[in-house]
């Protein structure tokens, strides 16, 4: 029942060997031949910027994605994972940031979900409980077996996930940002458990942005950048500085259009924004004609901050002033009326109605001026949209095409069109080029520059440091819901400088 790998790992074939993994999505090549090896009883840290390909690589390992090319071998045996079940059967457990637990079921039921021990067709509950208790004992923790999972703390839920992995005798456990939602004390406990798992011969892939943790727990580190391996080092032979350079080392090229800036007076000013743990105290201002980049790691509170400005979530505290006037924004409707536009990060879930025509998507925020007496002036709407189709070079057959059938870049252009038509004073772009091919990216950069040149104030959230450096006039770095640094002259900044502030 319990995995008992031989505890002399170095000489044997590595527990896990991934070679030349390639994976691409329409318009984006996420992995370009990544290799990775993991030994039994070892913690391998996987490090990289947002979008470097860590999550995609782990999804390939977990059987959630199929690689386009490359091989996976576990203890020397080649594997072909067609589904998460295959991967699980081979002894791989992936613990994602969002846990895979059924909230209404108890810890015990979750652990054995899909592999319940049965006797004559009935679930052998006493056996289940005994085994679960044994697993938690092995981890050296206590968790209420009968409490429904949604009542457990995040740390306890994580333990249930780990116990679940052990229950099906996983030999490889992947932890994706396991410490993100834990307190310091809980992180300490997690590390003790990881040590215990190591001792039992289990190989662990540990994904984290927190360098301190990596230095504390990992034996080795593999760094990815742009879907490629850029380095692999034993932890003892590497410094923080070196790791940061490995992560960000991309060259700035002329992939960003040049522009001349003339920055005017302050337009939007926010102070003391606060909401829960995500946004703890954020204040900043944007000027006319300025592009302000908000950057930081995933979970730093960037998206949450702009959602507060836009009224998408209620704020607990904070003031928003536009051109010196205080704004009482309680809903996106208020923000839009005040002249603020938000292009959301997730186009499919928040930006577009995929089943509706692109024309209707375009018209939605503009109906106030496209209507007369409650009636939509359809011809006006068509004509206006046609203008944007040609000026933004949106590739559609007609305005009646469903938004869901467009490529990522064209979808983003439709979202852009709908906000450009509103002629907002302040435009907020949340990851404007995510999932978009290089050509379309350039066009979007040009557009953002042009908007700034027209005197609009631009707030741009981006995880891609080159994009931040190439586009912004000023950079604000967030970390755990607070502004940890401001770089007034973005042109003179370096990626290392930003990464240091972001990791804090």
């Amino acid at each position: 029942m319990i995995a008992s790998a031989p505890p002399s790992p170095i000489l044997a074939a590595p527990l896990l060997e991934m070679r030349g993994i390639v994976k691409s999505f329409p318009g984006v090549q996420a992995l370009r031949g990544v290799s990775l090896s993991l030994h039994a009883g070892e913690v391998l840290a996987l490090l990289g910027e947002n979008g470097a390909g860590k999550s995609t690589l782990m999804k390939v390992l977990g059987g959630a994605f199929r690689a386009d090319a490359g091989s996976i071998a576990i203890a020397g045996a080649t594997q072909h994972f067609a589904s998460p079940q295959d991967s699980r059967r081979a002894g791989v457990a992936v613990i994602y940031q969002e846990f895979n637990l059924v909230p209404g079921l108890t810890a015990c039921e979750n652990i054995f979900l899909g592999q319940e021990p049965t006797r004559a067709g009935f679930i052998a509950q006493s056996q289940e409980r005994r085994q679960a208790a044994e697993l938690f004992k092995r981890l050296g923790v206590e968790v209420d077996l009968d409490a429904p999972c949604h009542r457990l703390t995040t740390a306890q839920q994580q333990l249930v996930e780990i116990a679940k992995a052990l229950a099906f005798q996983a030999r490889i456990i992947v932890m994706d940002e396991p410490s993100a939602a834990l307190t310091d004390h809980e992180v300490g406990r997690l590390f003790a458990i990881i040590e215990e798992l190591k001792r039992q011969g289990i190989g662990i892939v540990y994904i984290s942005h927190r360098l301190d943790e990596i230095f504390a727990i990992a034996n080795r580190v593999t760094v990815l950048r742009d879907g490629q391996n850029v380095g692999e080092r034993p932890m003892g032979q590497v410094t923080r500085q070196e790791l940061i350079e490995l992560m960000v080392g991309r060259e700035l090229s002329d992939e960003f259009p040049k522009r001349s800036t003339s920055i005017g007076p302050v337009r939007l000013e926010v102070s003391g924004l606060r909401r829960g743990r995500a946004v703890r105290d954020v204040s900043f201002s944007v000027r006319r004609g300025e592009i302000l980049a908000l950057t930081g790691l995933v979970g730093a509170g960037r998206t949450e901050t702009v959602r507060l400005i836009f009224g998408a979530d209620p704020r607990e505290a904070g003031h928003i002033r536009l051109d010196g006037r205080s704004l009482a924004i309680r809903s996106p409707r208020d923000a839009i009326a005040a002249g603020i536009g938000l292009l959301t990060e997730d186009r499919k879930l928040q930006g577009l109605m995929l089943g509706h025509s692109v024309r209707e998507n375009f018209g939605l925020p503009n109906l106030d001026w496209l209507c007369r007496g409650g009636f939509v002036r359809l011809r006006r709407e068509r004509d206006e949209f046609a203008r944007y189709i040609s000026s933004l070079r949106i590739k559609v057959f007609s305005g009646e095409q469903r938004a869901g059938t467009l490529s990522g870049g064209n979808q983003q252009k439709v979202v852009l069109a709908k906000w450009l038509a509103r002629n907002c004073d302040v435009l907020i772009f949340d990851e404007p080029t995510r999932g978009i091919d290089v050509g379309a990216k350039y066009e979007i950069y040009l557009l953002i520059n042009e908007l700034a040149a027209q005197g609009k104030s631009i707030i741009m959230i981006s995880s891609e440091l080159p994009e931040v450096l190439g586009m912004a006039d000023r950079i604000l770095v967030l970390h755990e819901g607070r502004v940890t640094g401001e770089i007034a002259d973005a042109r003179a900044a370096t990626q290392e400088q930003i990464m240091k502030l972001a990791i804090a």
Binding site: F25, P26, R402
Partner: protein, 450 residues
């Protein structure tokens, strides 16, 4: 090619089904027909003129059923107007006809023709006229010609179909809006009963019962409908403010309203209503179309314009298509949802008033299970239960599809149990169509970077 096919099925699928059903029932009910009433009178009159020229004497013989007396009266009027000699008219039984013939025989004037209905033409009285009444000459029996025509396609039947489905179709307008926003309204069936009982009680208790004036009745009906609207507003509030699923809220309202209707009616039906109250449900407006059907058509026209041309309609679709995207585009999501539930309840109230008028009474048993027929009409009409998609006229087609199936099966003597089975299968088939085309865009929209 595939897309073109699915597009065709999406927009016009049900109208094909409806047309095929109509064709099928037309063939199945194709029988020998003879015109009755006014149509018969007109036909016999033209036969008489064609056969005997401008001058002839005629005896009109009709039974005492209403369509036969109508035949006699109309024929008499037509012949008078055309300037022939005033005809003698008999309405009643064979012995009345014999008496009339005797009287005519006494005058000694020859009789050119006897105009009969299909029934009276078969009377034995006319078997041996020559022998019995030689002085009459040789009068010819003229009766309406028979022709082959489907029972289903008779204009009375078609009007009947429309009239029977009017209540469901009107309520289905509101239901379509609610379902397009991604919700559901189970309370409409109970609201029919509630509204019918309310309107009937208002008329009985406050507007003077059988002596109620038009104004009194109008106010009573409007009050009943407005109260239903308030209930819809309450349900909408529960849904938007507290975030309770629409299914639960409207299920609760369904029970509450049904119970209230029984309490208000004290378990009986309220029939102390003036005769003129049936104007709305059974009265005929222009072109012999019942008022309820006219109202239905007008409401569909308005609803179609709202949904396809107005900002409000766009908002309803947007909220159902992607609520979060709609909210972030500045759509007042709560107000839009409130509107949908209030509209649905108001229309259910109107449906209740129409039903009370059709049946000239108010009872708490009205509208039982109607919510399911209304939802079926909407779904058969191609509106997606997951929201964001659907067309008003699709719903009208859906309602008519259900009505045609029921009517056609009645005409072909299918028993009511079998009817339920067939209806169930049709609804399932329609939803299957919906699923197939829904899968279409899910597949094309689901690949991409995650």
């Amino acid at each position: 090619m595939n897309r073109a096919l699915s597009r065709l099925l999406t927009d016009y699928g049900m109208i094909f089904v409806l047309a095929i059903l109509c064709a099928f029932f037309s063939v199945a009910t194709y029988t020998e027909q003879s015109p009755t009433g006014e149509a018969a009178a007109r036909q016999v009159a033209s036969t008489l003129v064609a056969q005997f020229g401008p001058k002839f004497t005629v005896l009109i013989v009709a039974g005492d059923r209403s369509d036969e007396t109508l035949f006699a009266d109309k024929l008499q009027a037509i012949l008078k107007a055309s300037g022939t000699q005033a005809p003698t008219v008999v309405k009643g039984e064979p012995k009345d006809a014999r008496a009339a013939l005797k009287q005519l025989a006494v005058t000694g004037e020859p009789l050119t023709a006897i105009a009969c209905t299909r029934t009276t033409a078969a009377w034995r009285v006319f078997d041996d006229l020559k022998a019995e009444f030689p002085t009459l000459g040789n009068p010819q029996l003229i009766q309406p010609r028979t022709e082959k025509w489907p029972n289903f396609l008779k204009s009375e039947n078609l009007v009947n179909i429309a009239n029977q489905i009017a209540v469901i179709a009107i309520i289905a307008i509101g239901m379509t809006m609610v379902i397009i926003t991604g919700g559901i309204d189970l309370s409409v069936g109970s609201l029919i009963a509630f509204s019918a009982v309310l309107a009937a009680r208002f008329i009985r208790d406050y507007a003077g019962a059988e002596q109620a004036t038009v104004l009194g009745m109008t106010l009573a009906c409007i009050a009943a409908i407005v109260i239903c609207g308030l209930i819809g507003g309450f349900a909408g509030g529960m849904i938007t403010v507290f975030g309770i699923p629409p299914f639960i809220v409207t299920l609760a309202m369904m029970l509450v309203c049904s119970g209230l209707a029984y309490m208000l009616a004290a378990g009986q039906s309220i029939y102390q209503l003036p005769d003129s109250f049936i104007w709305l449900g059974r009265g005929e407006g222009v072109f012999n179309v019942p008022n309820a059907v006219l109202m239905m058509l007008i409401l569909y026209g308005v609803a179609h314009v709202v949904m396809s041309r107005m900002r409000l309609g766009r908002y309803l679709y947007a909220v159902g298509g992607n609520r979060e995207a709609a909210r972030l585009s500045g759509v007042p999501v709560r107000r839009v949802l409130m509107f949908a539930y209030i509209a649905s309840a108001l229309l259910a109230g109107l449906g209740g008033v129409i039903m009370a008028s059709q049946l000239k009474s108010g009872s708490a048993t009205y509208g039982n299970m109607y919510e399911l027929y209304v939802i079926a009409a909407v779904v058969v009409g191609g509106t997606s239960l997951s929201g964001g998609e659907g067309k008003m006229f699709g719903t009208l087609i859906g309602a008519f599809t259900i009505a045609v199936i029921q009517n056609g099966m009645n005409l072909t003597n299918v028993e009511s149990y079998t009817q339920k089975v067939v209806l169930g299968c049709v609804i399932l088939g329609a939803v299957l169509l919906d699923k197939l085309r829904h899968g279409q865009w899910l597949r094309s929209g689901s690949h991409g970077v995650s």
